[in-house]
C-alpha cells in the first residue's frame, strides 16, 4: 500500500513537471504581454505580471497594418474554408457512399498530394501567379491555400461519413423517402458535428500559414496576420511586450477553436487504427 502511494506521488510529480515545461513558453508569452516594460526588461525575470497593463496590446493593435492584416486573414480564411467545404463535401460523399471504378486511385491521390512538401511548391506557384498578375492579390493566396486545405478536408470528411451506418439511410429509403430526402434527413444531421470540426480545422490551417503569404504578398497593407507578426521581430527586434501581445492576439482565435474540436479531429484521424 505504501509503495503504491509513493508511486502515485512520483507519477503526479512527473506529470506536473511535464505540464510545467510544456506550458511555460505559452505562459511566458501571455504574462509578458501583460507586463510593463520595467518587468520585461529586468535583469532577474519577473515570474508573474504583478502590475498588469494593457499598454502592450494597445501598442500592438495601433501598429501600422494590424487591422488590415486581421481583415485580410479573415477574408482569405473564410473563402478558402467555404470553397473547400463545398468541393470536399461532394467528393467525400462519393468516396464514402459509392463504390466506383477509380475510387482507390482517387484515394491514393488525395493522400499522396498531402505528402508533397508545400515549401518546395512555392517557386512554381509564385512564377505562375506572377505571370497571371496575381501577386499581391488575395485571390492568389486563396487559390494557393486550396492546395493543402482541400485534400485534407476531403479526407477528414470522408472519415466522418464512413462512420454513418448505411443501414440508416436504407431504412429511410424503404420508408418511402427519396434518396435525396434520406440523405438530407439522416446523413446531414449525423455528420453536422464532423462538418463543423472539419471547417474549424481548415480555418486553423489557413490562419496559421506563413510562408506562402510571405512570398505572395509584399504590399504591407495586403499581408496576413502571421506575416505581420513575423515582420515584428526583424523590424523592431526588442519591442518584446507589443510583440508578445500581438502573438497572443494571433493565437487566441486558434486556441479557442482548437480546444472545441481537438477531440473530434483526433478521433477522425485515428478511428479504426487499433484493433484488438
Amino acid at each position: 500500500m505504501r509503495r503504491s502511494a509513493a508511486r502515485r506521488w512520483a507519477l503526479n510529480a512527473t506529470g506536473l513537471v511535464v505540464f510545467a515545461v510544456m506550458i511555460f513558453p505559452v505562459y511566458w508569452m501571455v504574462t509578458t504581454a501583460f507586463k510593463p516594460g520595467s518587468e520585461i526588461f529586468a535583469d532577474t525575470p519577473v515570474w508573474f505580471p504583478w502590475h498588469p497593463t494593457l499598454s502592450n496590446f494597445d501598442d500592438a493593435i495601433h501598429r501600422p497594418h494590424f487591422w488590415a492584416a486581421v481583415k485580410n486573414s479573415l477574408i482569405i480564411v473564410s473563402v478558402v474554408v467555404a470553397a473547400s467545404l463545398v468541393l470536399a463535401f461532394l467528393a467525400a460523399l462519393a468516396l464514402a457512399k459509392f463504390r466506383f471504378y477509380g475510387r482507390r486511385a482517387f484515394i491514393v491521390l488525395i493522400i499522396a498530394v498531402q505528402m508533397i512538401p508545400l515549401n518546395a511548391l512555392i517557386i512554381p506557384i509564385y512564377l505562375v501567379l506572377s505571370k497571371a498578375h496575381q501577386v499581391d492579390k488575395l485571390t492568389g493566396v486563396i487559390v494557393t491555400y486550396m492546395t493543402f486545405v482541400l485534400p485534407f478536408t476531403i479526407w477528414t470528411l470522408r472519415g466522418f461519413m464512413i462512420g454513418v451506418p448505411s443501414e440508416l439511410e436504407e431504412a429511410a429509403q424503404v420508408d418511402g423517402s427519396t434518396r435525396f430526402g434520406a440523405f438530407v434527413r439522416i446523413l446531414l444531421p449525423l455528420i453536422g458535428p464532423g462538418l463543423v470540426a472539419t471547417s474549424i480545422f481548415a480555418f486553423i490551417q489557413a490562419w496559421n500559414e506563413y510562408i506562402m503569404a510571405y512570398v505572395l504578398l509584399h504590399d504591407p497593407s495586403k499581408q496576413t496576420l502571421t506575416v505581420w507578426l513575423a515582420a515584428f521581430t526583424t523590424s523592431r527586434g526588442t519591442a518584446w511586450g507589443p510583440l508578445m501581445a500581438g502573438a497572443t492576439l494571433t493565437a487566441l482565435p486558434v486556441v479557442i477553436f482548437f480546444a472545441l474540436v481537438q477531440r473530434k479531429v483526433a478521433f477522425g484521424l485515428t478511428a479504426g487504427a487499433v484493433r484488438g
Partner: protein, 298 residues
C-alpha cells in the same frame, strides 16, 4: 457502401475537387519539373519564359559541395527531431495512461495549448525566451550554475543554434504525437495487458510485446508524418534568423528558397526542390501504404 452501378453520380461528385486539385497542385508540380530543366533568371522572369538547358541545373547542384552539406544537415536534423518527438511523445502518452483523471486532464490541457499555438507565434515566443539580453533561458541556465550564460548568443555557434531550432520544433510537435498515442493506448484491450501481466511479464515486456505491435500502424503514420513535416523545416529558421539565415543555417527548403528568390535562379531552385520532393517520396510511400491498409479495415 456497396452501391455498384451508381452510374455517373460518383464521378460527377468528385469532378469539381479533381479539377481544382489538378489546377492548383498538378499544374505547379508539372511547371516545377519543367523549370528544373530551364535557365530561369531575372531576364527570363521578366519575359515569363525559361530557356531549356537540359540537365545542367542538376549537374551543377550535384557538383556543389554546399548542396550536399545542406542535404545531410536536413536529413540529420530530421532524424534527431523525429526521434525525439516520437520518444518523448510516447513517454508522455504512457505517463498519461498511468495518471489519475484530474492530473491527466491538466496535462491534456497543457498539450492542447501547445498544439494550438500557431508556428509563427511559437517561433516569436522562443525568439524572446532565448534573447541574449533579457531572455529567460540565459538567466535560468546561469542560476542553475550550468555556466555563465549572461549575454550568451545562441546563434553565434551553428550547433547551439540548431539545438534551439530542434527544441522549438520538437516542443511544438510533441502534443500531436502524445495525444494520438494516448488515444490509441486507450483502445488497447485491457484483457490483453492483464493476461500478459498475470503471466508474470514485466511492464516493459508488456509494452514491447503487447502494446507496441498493436500500436504499430499509429507509430508508422506518426513517424512518417513527422518526417515529412520536419524535413521541410523553414519557418522556424527563417524567422529566428531574421529572414536572412547564413549558410550554416540552410535547410533544403531554405536553400531552395534562397536560390530562387534571393539570387533569382528559379531553375536551379526548382532542381533543389525536386530533389527534396524525391527524397520525401520514399517516406510518403511507407505512409500511403499504411493508410491504405487501414482504409481497407474500415
Amino acid at each position: 457502401m456497396s452501391r455498384a452501378g451508381a452510374g455517373a453520380t460518383p464521378y460527377a461528385l468528385i469532378l469539381p475537387a479533381t479539377l481544382v486539385i489538378g489546377a492548383v497542385l498538378g499544374y505547379p508540380l508539372y511547371f516545377m519539373v519543367r523549370l528544373s530543366f530551364e535557365r530561369y533568371g531575372l531576364f527570363q522572369l521578366i519575359r515569363h519564359e525559361g530557356v531549356w538547358i537540359g540537365t545542367q541545373n542538376y549537374a551543377s547542384i550535384f557538383h556543389d559541395a554546399t548542396f550536399w552539406h545542406v542535404v545531410l544537415r536536413t536529413l540529420a536534423f530530421t532524424a534527431v527531431a523525429v526521434s525525439l518527438t516520437m520518444a518523448i511523445g510516447t513517454l508522455i502518452a504512457l505517463l498519461m495512461a498511468q495518471l489519475g483523471s484530474a492530473m491527466r486532464l491538466l496535462l491534456n490541457v497543457g498539450l492542447i495549448f501547445v498544439w494550438a499555438t500557431p508556428v509563427v507565434v511559437a517561433v516569436d515566443i522562443w525568439y524572446w525566451m532565448v534573447d541574449f539580453e533579457f531572455g529567460v533561458l540565459n538567466w535560468l541556465l546561469t542560476h542553475l550554475h550550468l555556466g555563465d550564460f549572461n549575454h550568451h548568443d545562441w546563434f553565434a555557434n551553428a550547433w547551439s543554434g540548431w539545438s534551439i531550432i530542434t527544441l522549438l520544433v520538437v516542443w511544438g510537435a510533441i502534443p500531436f504525437v502524445a495525444i494520438t498515442v494516448y488515444a490509441a493506448l486507450t483502445q488497447v484491450p485491457r484483457e490483453l495487458v492483464e493476461a500478459a501481466s498475470i503471466d508474470g511479464a514485466h511492464a516493459w515486456r508488456v509494452f514491447r510485446d503487447v502494446t507496441v505491435p498493436l500500436l504499430k500502424p499509429i507509430f508508422i503514420i506518426l513517424a512518417s508524418l513527422s518526417t515529412i513535416w520536419d524535413f521541410q523545416v523553414f519557418n522556424q529558421i527563417w524567422i529566428l534568423r531574421d529572414e536572412q539565415p547564413s549558410p550554416e543555417y540552410w535547410s533544403m527548403a531554405v536553400y531552395a528558397y534562397h536560390t530562387s528568390f534571393q539570387t533569382s535562379e528559379y531553375g536551379l531552385g526548382s532542381a533543389i526542390a525536386i530533389v527534396m520532393v524525391a527524397i520525401m517520396l520514399v517516406v510518403s510511400f511507407v505512409y500511403i501504404r499504411q493508410m491504405l491498409k487501414m482504409g481497407e479495415a474500415t
